[in-house]
Symmetry: C2
Subunit: 326 residues, 2 copies
């Protein structure tokens, strides 16, 4: 019955057309769950709280609404199979805007290998997009937050820091200093359309990841969730975290300079919304190149960087890491 | 693998504790899908659009948000297994209000045999509850809207008309005339907490229902969806529709009188939100008492009552059915 991916597969499933047995148009959709279990997660994007229409186009918002949920599926070690979307907005919202939103959602689902399986539309004063993603475990156990053990390595797939820097650039607006156009586009693009490394989730599960989380609150905060759930300490080495290609150091440094900030390292450490995946693995596991090792799991609690306890700042802070010695 | 209900079972599954493998607290939940397929549906309730806080308590809104989605699962012939809920509201919303909402959601899930599997909370100017329900087909085919055939009978499980009458009473406020307290409570209660006949959905599937729908837009509108999807005509007999126990005739008549309305029959015909189930069955099927036959499927299109084409009115209209001869 493991039709969407043999155990040990590191590729997404056979795609949307395979997942969807019955789509939009009835009381409910029917989605394949060949594993006999279904992974499910919901969250929402609300105008003014999660996005601003002057900063993100409808298509970007669609990408992000889908990505946030699909990344949570990947973070369980599962293959995304389907997405259901509820949209509410003011009566004056243009049809083009809504169609662009739907286009962004569909594009992101296609990237993740998931089908758009259903949804609902309604009236509300502010635009709200709520989504539920479903996924298939392909015969593997879900990778929870609680399995990290001392001796494990901590590794990250995806990218860290760019989304927070892009948001800082948007917030600064014209007050930001000059910045090469491609750097600006790279960072703002990362904020508008995060690129979760979807296949890395099932890959990590196949490699026996002991814990995993979608990095949405910021790396330190999310490693803190793993530390708390697993009863361990997460020790991160700054030279591994703040290193290409995991972290776009050159671009972040340029953005910090344009913004008159003294530091850029709080972006990869505590900036949210990149939707990288952070996981822990047994030390003996040979990790594919996509997984960058950034530290190790030890006895204790909390998150330390270069041996110092870390109090999560925000990307708005100008300080960077005090304990950074580079 | 059909562990939540043997094929042909007419009872809900083994309940929430069985359905939920991994609940709230990780990136996503893991829910049993023993059938190898999962039924999924989403919709939302928005303050001002779908409810008013002065008319419904938080607990009622929780019941309704869950019921709307769980009823859609039943309408596919499936057993509800899980519900994910996103809540957004203003910062000044009291914790008690939110806890009461959660209590209503949990109570309705328990009634349907589903687990509360996850969710998200956020800030928004108006209260918004978005929910996704999951269900298991227990080895049966989903009952879609498109399988009705001429010669089938049309039957309804649940109740029709009370929710719309209750809404009319709330809308009229003090301007309504006297009404026995128990009648008022019955009708307003039906608006605040619809009671979908959850087990009837899987029962209908087991009986070979050819089409089925959750009655949320009003019976005639929803039968119209079956008629359109199936390419048939739905012929309803008013004496069967406007009859106890399917329709609380005595209470509706009293409410119409209190409201100074000349008719009450548009409530069961076009009033929404009762969340009854309407289905079609082969004529030879012996239907359990819960399923009230109200008409038959014929060649043609649309919905007719007593042979006359029906244009859906609203519960706000005062006319009733012109073609009613009673």
């Amino acid at each position: 019955m493991l039709a969407t991916g043999a155990a040990g597969s590191t590729q997404p499933g056979q795609g949307a057309a395979f997942s969807l047995i019955l789509g939009i148009g009835d009381d409910a959709a029917v989605v394949r769950a060949p594993d006999g279990r279904v992974v499910a997660t919901s969250d929402m994007l609300i105008e003014g709280t999660h996005f601003r229409r002057e900063w993100s186009a409808a298509r970007d918002i669609g990408h992000k609404a889908a990505a946030r949920n699909l990344a949570d599926i990947a973070a369980m070690g599962a293959l995304p199979t389907a997405l259901l979307v509820c949209f509410a907005g003011p009566g004056e919202t243009s049809v083009d805007w809504v169609l662009d939103l739907a286009r962004g959602i569909a594009e992101e689902c296609a990237t993740a290998g998931a089908a758009v399986a259903g949804g609902d539309t309604s009236y509300a004063q502010a635009i709200m997009v709520s989504a539920t993603a479903l996924g298939d475990l392909a015969g593997r156990d879900p990778v929870t937050r609680s399995g990290a053990r001392p001796g494990d390595v901590i590794a990250v797939a995806g990218s860290l820091g760019a989304a927070a820097a892009g948001l800082a650039l948007l917030a600064a607006g014209p007050s930001a200093g000059p910045l090469p156009a491609d750097v600006r586009a790279e960072l703002i693009g990362a904020h508008r359309r995060p690129k979760p490394p979807y296949p890395a989730g099932a890959q990590a599960a196949a490699l026996g990841a002991t814990s995993m989380i979608d990095v949405s609150d910021g790396l330190v905060a999310d490693l803190g969730h793993l530390a708390a759930a697993s009863g361990v300490r997460m020790e991160v080495a700054s030279r591994r975290l703040a290193a290409e290609p995991l972290c776009p150091v050159t671009s972040l440094r340029a953005a910090a300079e344009a913004l008159g900030r003294t530091g850029w390292r709080d972006w990869p450490a505590s900036g949210g919304d990149d939707h990288a995946l952070a996981a822990t693995f047994r030390r003996a596991v040979v990790l594919p190149e996509r997984w960058a090792v950034i530290g190790e799991v030890t006895d204790g609690g909390g998150v330390v960087i270069d041996g110092s306890p870390w109090t999560a700042g925000t990307a708005e802070a100008s300080g960077g890491w005090e304990h950074f010695r580079s």
